[in-house]
């Protein structure tokens, strides 16, 4: 199948998922509320006199986004289980990798939505100055998100058809998320400390390589997770 076809099919699929999401809005609202609650939990889970906000802000940001992304990823293929919709998708005369790409795009939009709400909320709640570093921070979050959503979309296609899907996905995924998370935290700490951009270039490169490797790998491996 030609590349334009694959891209077109995956966009149709992603648009379908997003339309379902936009009409019900339950999942995205839950994810946003989860992000807010996680911030609140972090606020009460520390001693504000002992740890300054700016020191903790990168950890709060990344841990919250990681956990919220896992919740979001559980949803992606669950949608297709109802009425055996997945079988219908697999019967469609489209390339299997476009199913993966479609799900990946929909998941990325979904995760990006609550991240978009999370960043300003972090500034508000914890009084950290992110605005001067916004452009590199957005790049950093985007690269890390692509990495763990790529692996997560692949794994959720498997876990959704196992017992204890909700529990198994984090167990499989977290070992793969910790690396982008740790690079993200390290780079964010340096950004917030006002270090020059050249200092975070190493982490940005690592994230970019991670993205390329795992998106490519997931495209190759995805057919094996759905074939009967």
């Amino acid at each position: 199948m030609r590349l334009p076809d694959v891209l077109r099919h995956s966009w149709v699929l992603a648009a379908k998922d997003l339309r379902v999401e936009f009409r019900s809005r339950t999942a995205i609202l839950s994810a946003v509320v989860f992000v807010i609650l996680a911030f609140v939990v972090f606020n009460f889970g520390r001693d504000p006199t002992a740890v300054p906000n700016v020191a903790l802000a990168p950890s709060i940001l990344w841990v919250t986004f990681t956990l919220a992304a896992i919740l979001a990823l559980n949803r992606a293929f669950h949608l297709e289980l109802e009425n055996h919709a997945l079988d219908g998708l697999l019967l469609a005369p489209i390339d299997r990798s476009s199913i993966y790409l479609g799900k990946l795009i929909a998941n990325l939009v979904f995760v990006a939505t609550f991240e978009l709400i999370g960043v300003p909320l972090l500034m508000l709640f914890f009084n950290v100055r992110l605005l001067p570093y916004l452009a590199p921070l957005v790049l950093l979050i985007a690269l890390a998100t692509i990495g763990f959503v790529a692996v997560g979309t692949l794994f959720s296609a498997m876990t959704v058809r196992t017992r204890f899907a909700e529990l198994l996905l984090p167990v499989l995924l977290l070992p793969f998320m910790i690396l982008p998370l740790s690079w993200g935290v390290q780079a964010t700490v340096r950004l917030l400390a006002g270090r020059p951009l050249s200092e975070i270039a190493g982490w940005l490169n690592m994230l970019a390589v991670y993205d390329i490797v795992f998106v490519g790998l997931a495209l190759l491996l995805f057919p094996a997770t759905v074939s009967e």
């Binding site: 692996v151 692949l154 794994f155 498997m158 876990t159 058809r161 196992t162 017992r163 204890f164 198994l168 167990v171 499989l172 977290l174 070992p175 793969f176 910790i178 690396l179 740790s182 690079w183 390290q186 190493g202 690592m206 991670y210 490797v213 795992f214 790998l217 491996l221 094996a224 997770t225 074939s227």
Partner: protein, 226 residues
Amino acid sequence: MLRTGRWITAIALVLLAGVYVRALLYTPVEASQGLAQKIFYLHVPAAIWAETAMILVGLASVVYLFTKDPRLDRFAASSAEVGTVFCAIVLTSGPIWGKPIWGTWWTWDARLTLTLFLFLIYVAYLLLRSAVMDPATRARFAAVLGICGMCEVPFIHLSVYMFPTLHPMPIILQPGRPKLPGSMLTTWLLSLGVFTLLYVGFVVQRYALSYLREQLEAVGGEVGHA
């Protein structure tokens, strides 16, 4: 085959005892670390095989997805289980060495973190296997995770070099001559050989066991899944 595996394991365990007799009685005591250094003969070969086992799981998984040969899936499952055990050996022997030398059982040091990661990926792999009922689906899912696990290893390696480290740098695999006395090197190489034998023995046993289980499942017997 099960019997062969048992024999290999038994011989390897006897040889391991022999290696330790040699290590304790006939190998010089390291000047700065004293007796604690003796754990090195257990720790390093186990670590080498823990990582090699993951790579073998990944390679077997790649070939499995092409050929769908159940033998490769059985091998991958066996190798993963043995790798988990070796990781556990590394993670327990490390702190025993770390307490007298570093003064702490655990630190978030690069290499410790690496082994922990490896252990977590192994555990996830085994959990995924136990959560899927259908053998063909189980094999495909496990293969996907195994390949991802193998591809993660270089990233962990790269990543740990970006962290500050307390861990001793490689002594044997380094440019130029190994920087340790010949008798220590001999003991260590013997130990590596014994661990190779242990790996083979465990995997052969585990492989034979899963083969028997599959036979039993095929005739409708009730067994725990692997």
